[in-house]
């Protein structure tokens, strides 16, 4: 039996590629060169429009895609902003665990990536995954969540959204 989801479920792989080519055609798929066999999409988005920031993103499939473990943040596709790097943004922000901002920014989590620990975007709360609690959505869907997060993040950084509103349960 194939180890990688894209070998064991080629129809799912085709559906993932078709959805990304339809909705985000500038994104390119590739494989991490770390021996993990994990696939990723990379491309740029500008969620708040022509005057907003350009975000260079990697959408990295976990090898258990499309399934997720209980309590796993972000589903089976991890969203890593390459530029701007969340760790660099957070470095200039106060750490306020009591306000739900233990990493400086709302709705992010940390995880190892290669030799570094990186900050990733939290996308859907698992209870909102379309196909049930243990199944994630597609890369295209995860990217739409990420764009929603970016709008929220940019507005929060600009002071247009308060801490209370930015936190869990509101967006």
């Amino acid at each position: 039996m194939a180890f990688y989801w894209y070998e064991s479920d080629p129809e799912l792989y085709k559906a993932e590629v078709a959805a990304m080519r339809k909705f985000f055609p500038s994104f390119k798929i590739n494989q991490l060169q770390d021996g993990s066999g994990r696939l990723y999409w990379r491309g740029k988005v500008q969620p708040t429009g022509p005057n907003g920031m350009v975000w260079d993103l990697m959408l990295i499939y976990k090898n258990n895609h499309p399934y997720t473990a209980d309590g796993e943040y972000g589903g089976s596709i991890q969203i890593l902003p390459v530029s701007p790097r969340l760790k660099d943004i957070a470095r200039n922000l106060p750490i306020r665990p009591e306000a739900g901002l233990g990493l400086g920014l709302p709705h992010i989590y940390r995880s190892n990536f290669g030799r570094n620990e990186e900050y990733f975007i939290c996308t859907a709360d698992p209870k909102y995954f379309k196909a049930g609690q243990n199944r994630s959505t597609s890369a295209a869907s995860a990217l739409s969540w990420a764009c929603k997060w970016i709008v929220l993040c940019e507005m929060w950084l600009n002071g247009e959204i308060s801490d209370d509103v930015a936190l869990e349960g509101n967006y």
Binding site: C122, A124, K127, C147, Y171
Partner: protein, 56 residues
């Protein structure tokens, strides 16, 4: 860009944020721009709906 333009942009951003908060009809275009669904309907390019639900 004059003050009226800036006010209009800020007002639209607030409306978008409220639509995102309340699971309103919001889509993401191929460039990643988040727009109201009726704005995107005037375009030829497909736009994906932001799924209902909350950020984790």
């Amino acid at each position: 860009m004059d003050e009226n333009d800036n006010n209009a942009i800020a007002q639209r951003r607030r409306a978008l944020a409220e639509a995102l908060r309340t699971n309103g009809e919001v889509v993401v275009t191929p460039t990643g721009e988040v727009e109201f669904k009726d704005e995107a309907e005037n375009s030829d390019t497909p736009a994906i709906s932001v799924p209902e639900g909350k950020l984790a």
